[in-house]
């Protein structure tokens, strides 16, 4: 029988009776009681049946009663009434009762004064004081007889007199057994018949099994309803780092604007990081206070043709043919050969200017840069920078502003301002600021400008080169309201796992 059929039969059974016990249903449907209980419970949640629980008490004859079929005192009295005069010894040997029972019976009869024991000629003789069985004993006999006949009786079927007898007998060990319990009755409700008639009642299943799928039984079952709002447990998916997510966005923006991505090494000679960018050799930014110089190896090779190195040297010293007066003083190649952790990704940009030369190009790079900073909630010694250049004969300041404005606008910052600024390698130099709505203030995020002739001409480029270097971490701080910049590189899973999705 399928679950569905059982359910239908069960509903019919319930609907056709005023009330019916689970036990009875189980008997009629020939299924286990637990199974019935499961279905009934589901139906009850649906309001299709009601359940009533009744407690019951059943009285059964105990083993002693089954053995004696009466009480020992009754048996003894009956025996005595036949014999009239019997010695105690004879009683013990002839009554057919155990010594224990005889003793108990004699005790009861003596107390009720139905008999008396006298001593005659050294023998103890029993004297009976009644002629026939007293009425109460007859009642008990009747009670016992009925109980033995019925084998068990419900407590509610007893008369008051019978209850009194029962109370007396219960106190005597092994004569009466009392069983107690609860019966579950299933009662039909208004919905029972409705369900039955509409034929929408189907077995409820918790787990979808291959049997249901393969047997195409999905229409024959009802899937157990769940508490849809219950919270079970958190699952932590693998995720990319929020900084990576932002970097991917930035890359996408520059690529969409026609820029080609470039890379460069983290360790550079000062020549590339500073000298090619016309940073004077005694510039405070080149100090060990701000720049990480390498302890080992201390110096590297300047992998540029001698003539380029020479032009850079002359430009620093006296401006060479760039139209500049230069910084004056002597330029030291020793200083230029020192290895540094790049302080900006402009090292990548300037390398590209040399590689590409005077050809139209738009290049960007995103990478790690290093500053010898004391690390605190506002400062890192290592962070990311976005650098970019445009080499074009017609490139100009307004276009530089246009690119940066477009970039920030694509990131969602519509208000961008440009203030004049200063960098040794650009002229004009500008400082882009974005308005951060949720902070209600302007924020500077880097620098930009047009490479000075002192920078590009020694590399053979007379065209203007637009250049910028912008920060990344601060954008992330705005996005996720981060107040300690170190959070970004701590990789604490409590943070990473709980970062919300933003685009």
């Amino acid at each position: 029988m399928t679950e569905y059929n059982i359910l239908k039969k069960l509903l019919k059974t319930v609907a056709s009776s005023r009330r019916i016990s689970v036990k009875e249903i189980s008997k009629r449907l020939k299924v286990k009681e637990d199974f019935v209980r499961g279905i009934v419970e589901t139906l009850r949640k649906e309001g299709a049946v009601k359940i009533e629980r009744k407690t019951w008490k059943i009285i059964k004859p105990g083993p002693k009663l089954l053995e004696l079929k009466t009480l020992p005192e009754i048996k003894i009295l009956k025996y005595l009434l036949k014999k009239r005069k019997v010695t105690l010894r004879t009683l013990f040997s002839e009554s057919g009762l155990s010594n224990e029972d005889v003793q108990a019976g004699i005790g009861k009869l003596v107390t009720s004064r139905h008999i008396k024991i006298e001593k005659t000629d050294g023998e103890r003789v029993i004297k009976v004081n009644v002629d026939s069985l007293p009425r109460d004993m007859l009642e008990i006999e009747k009670f016992i007889h009925k109980l033995l006949q019925d084998k068990e009786r419900k407590i509610e079927d007893f008369s008051d007199d019978e209850l009194e007898i029962l109370n007396r007998l219960v106190s005597r060990p092994k004569f009466i057994e009392v069983e107690e319990g609860t019966t579950e009755y299933v009662l039909p409700t208004e919905k029972t018949r409705v369900l039955l008639e509409e034929k929408i009642v189907k077995p409820v299943v918790t787990r979808l099994t291959p049997d249901i799928i393969l047997g195409k039984k999905w229409d024959d079952v009802v899937f157990k309803k769940y508490d849809l709002n219950e919270e079970f447990f958190r699952i932590y998916p693998g995720r990319i780092h929020p900084l990576r997510e932002l970097i991917r966005e930035i890359r996408e923006i520059f690529v969409s604007m026609g820029f080609e991505e470039a890379h460069g090494p983290l360790v550079e000679v000062a020549f590339i990081n500073f000298d090619m960018l016309f940073q004077p050799q005694d510039h405070p930014a080149r100090d060990m206070q701000d720049t990480f110089y390498l302890l080992n190896p201390e110096y590297g090779e300047i992998e540029y043709p001698k003539e380029v190195i020479d032009r850079v040297r002359k430009t620093h010293e006296n401006g060479w043919k760039t139209g500049s007066i230069g910084w004056g003083g002597r330029w030291s190649i020793e200083e230029a050969r020192r290895l540094v952790l790049r302080t900006h990704t402009t090292s990548v940009s300037i390398t590209k200017v040399y590689e590409i030369g005077e050809k139209p190009a738009k290049i960007f790079s995103i990478g790690r840069v290093f500053r010898n900073e004391t690390v605190d909630y506002k400062h890192l010694a290592e962070f990311m920078q976005i650098d970019g250049i445009v080499i074009n004969k017609k490139a100009n300041l307004r276009e530089l502003m246009g690119i940066i404005k477009e970039f920030y606008s694509k990131l969602g910052f519509k208000d961008v301002r440009f203030w004049p600024s200063y960098f040794p390698y650009t002229e004009p130099s500008i400082q882009p600021s974005i308005y951060v709505k949720k902070w209600g203030k302007w924020l500077e995020l880097g620098g930009a400008g047009i490479f000075r002739p002192e920078v590009t001409i020694p590399l053979g480029v007379k065209w203007p080169v637009l250049a910028w270097g912008l920060g990344v971490e601060r954008l992330l701080m705005i996005r996720y309201d981060i107040d300690d910049i170190r959070t970004i590189y701590n990789n604490n899973l409590n943070w990473l796992r709980n970062i919300g999705l933003k685009v």
């Binding site: 693998g238 246009g402 130099s429 990789n491 899973l493 990473l496």
Partner: protein, 557 residues
């Protein structure tokens, strides 16, 4: 960057008109100044080191008036011929070869103004003066100086009373005990002679670049001052003197020249040289992308406090540069002055005309794919600094140091070498994530740097770690194998190795042919203990550059 505080009251006094804090906050940035702090009655600004002339409220006002159109064009600073002489002894050539000087009279200072000047002097010392190494300035009460003055050298036993002291001390003592001696003494280290500026009567004006003598000290009532500037480069100290005296002239002082006598050679300072620089009109408007006619360009340059002329034939603009503008190195520097004088706020951004096709680097594309693959395996990506320390990389890992790159004079001992492998960074991340639910899966693709011979080798590696009570070699190996299947790299072999960061017998080197591709295994409990981790950790670290090459060579089709 140096900072100047501009009080509203003071700025009003200098400009000779009412001015609000709001106006200052709005317009000062258009001069290229950064607003550092806005107070109730003051604005603190930061200025760029190329503009030392911005070191006083007076110097800022000079430019501010121009940009606001209140006073434009060049300021002519005149120098009266003074009868002051400074003799330079040839012996200074070996210690601090150059000196220039000037006299400023009839200053009407008060405590506030004097403080502004002293701060300005300090900014000049630190910026253009490179912490007094290149430039040291001495300001003296002119009345206390008896001319001629001599700049010469003395030995370390020479003694005088320096500022902040009450009795005579020797040069040696100053260098050893005086706070300024301790701060700047290193500039003279290795010398056996010391520079001294001394007057006719033997009064010591200064022991440059360390400290002045007590007798010529300034106070707010001093009206006439004598300035000496010593240094290593005549050009730089002359420029510094120009910046200083033009500013003092704006404070109301009259400038007088001093004759500098270097043996046979004599010249007068300050020079106050007005330079002429020319640039094509087209060059200016092309670079700015602004179609400004020549007269507009000239007007803009005047707002930036230059005087400019247009040459119709050459179609060029010639500007006269005042002596305090030491930042003008090249004609291109005038272009920015045009932009600032024109008003930066008026310049509209424009999209570039150059059309190009954009491309992300292939390396980044492949990196992104591998990252997504690892994320698919349930790993969280980490990004760690390359800068770290040997304790994390080697000591805690229980191994001998690799050939790492170390930096000089790091400000933090936590960041002083470049990492040579990634797993230690990830273990530090696990340590920080101790209160997060387990298991944890973490990976990073990032740079590692080593020294081989005298060469720096930068590589990218991928490290992955799993921590959790259930993790074991089989899990990490399964992930590794599964990843390699997807990468279609099948010819690898793992051979048992000894590595004290891992449990013996549960660590192997991954070889592809003879190439050592990576490392895989279970981290040693002693290492876990060092990172205060209490659950098993499994890990692998492999060569990302190799994967990059394989995938790259395979191509798209």
């Amino acid at each position: 960057m140096p900072v100047v505080t501009i009080h509203q009251r003071r700025f009003r006094e200098i400009l000779g008109r009412e001015i609000s804090i709001d106006e200052m906050v709005e317009y000062l940035p258009w001069l290229g100044l950064d607003i550092e702090e806005i107070g109730e009655d003051f604005v603190k600004i930061e200025y760029n080191p190329n503009r030392p002339d911005f070191g006083t409220p007076v110097g800022i006002a000079r430019y501010y008036k121009g940009i606001r159109g209140e006073e434009t064009g060049l300021i002519k600073y005149g120098v009266k011929k003074g009868r002051y002489r400074v003799y330079v002894d040839p012996s200074v050539a070996e210690v601090r070869p150059y000196i220039v000087a000037a006299v400023v009279k009839n200053l009407d200072l008060d405590e506030e103004k004097l403080d502004e000047i002293i701060e300005f002097q300090e900014d000049l010392h630190n910026g253009i003066g490179r912490k007094r190494r290149k430039v040291a300035i001495g300001l003296h009460n002119l009345d206390a100086v008896k001319f001629p003055v001599t700049y010469k050298t003395v030995n370390s036993r020479f003694s005088f009373i320096p500022l902040e002291f009450e009795e005579e001390v020797t040069i040696k003592e100053i260098l050893e005990y005086h706070p300024k001696g301790r701060e700047y003494g290193h500039i003279l280290s290795g010398k056996d002679k010391y520079p001294i500026i001394i007057d006719k009567e033997g009064t010591v004006l200064s022991f440059p670049p360390i400290i002045n003598g007590i007798y010529t000290a300034l106070n707010p009532r001093v009206r006439d001052i004598f300035i000496d500037i010593t240094g290593t480069d005549l050009e730089t100290i002359s420029k510094t003197l120009d910046i200083l005296v033009t500013t003092l002239a704006d404070y109301g002082g009259e400038l007088y020249s001093v004759e500098m006598i270097y043996g046979e050679k004599t010249f007068e300072t300050p020079r106050l040289e007005y330079r002429e620089i020319s640039i094509g009109h087209k060059e200016i408007i092309d670079l700015l992308g602004l179609k400004l006619p020549p007269e507009e360009v000239i007007k803009a340059l005047e707002a930036s406090r230059f005087t400019a002329f247009y040459d119709r034939e050459k179609k060029s603009i010639t500007a006269v540069v005042p002596p305090y503008r030491v930042d003008i190195l090249h004609s291109v520097d005038l272009i920015e002055e045009v932009a600032i004088g024109y008003g930066f706020w008026r310049i509209q951004p424009k999209m570039p005309s150059l059309y190009t096709v954009g491309t992300a680097s292939l390396k980044e594309k492949i990196r992104d794919k591998i990252i997504d693959l690892m994320v698919g395996f349930g790993f969280q990506e980490a990004i760690n600094p390359v800068l770290t320390n040997p304790e994390e990389q080697y000591v805690k890992m229980g191994i001998e140091p690799d050939n790492y790159v170390e930096v000089k004079a790091p400000k933090s001992m936590l960041y002083r070498i470049l990492r040579t492998w990634i797993i230690p960074s990830l273990l530090t991340n696990l340590y920080r994530s101790k209160s997060a639910e387990y298991p944890q899966y973490l990976f990073e693709i990032g740079p590692v740097v080593k020294v081989e011979g005298n060469k720096i080798i930068e590589k990218e590696k991928m490290g992955a770690v799993i921590i959790g009570s259930e993790t074991g070699y089989s899990e990490i190996k399964s992930i590794f194998d599964s990843m390699m299947k997807i990468l279609e790299i099948n010819n690898y072999k793992i051979s048992e190795t000894n590595h004290s960061s891992f449990i013996p017998g549960r660590v192997g080197k991954i070889y592809i042919g003879k190439f050592e591709f990576g490392l895989i295994g279970e981290i040693h409990p002693k290492v876990l203990n060092n990172f205060q981790l209490t659950l098993p950790v499994t890990a692998f670290e492999i060569d990302f550059d190799y994967i990059f090459e394989v995938v790259r060579k395979r191509g798209k089709f």
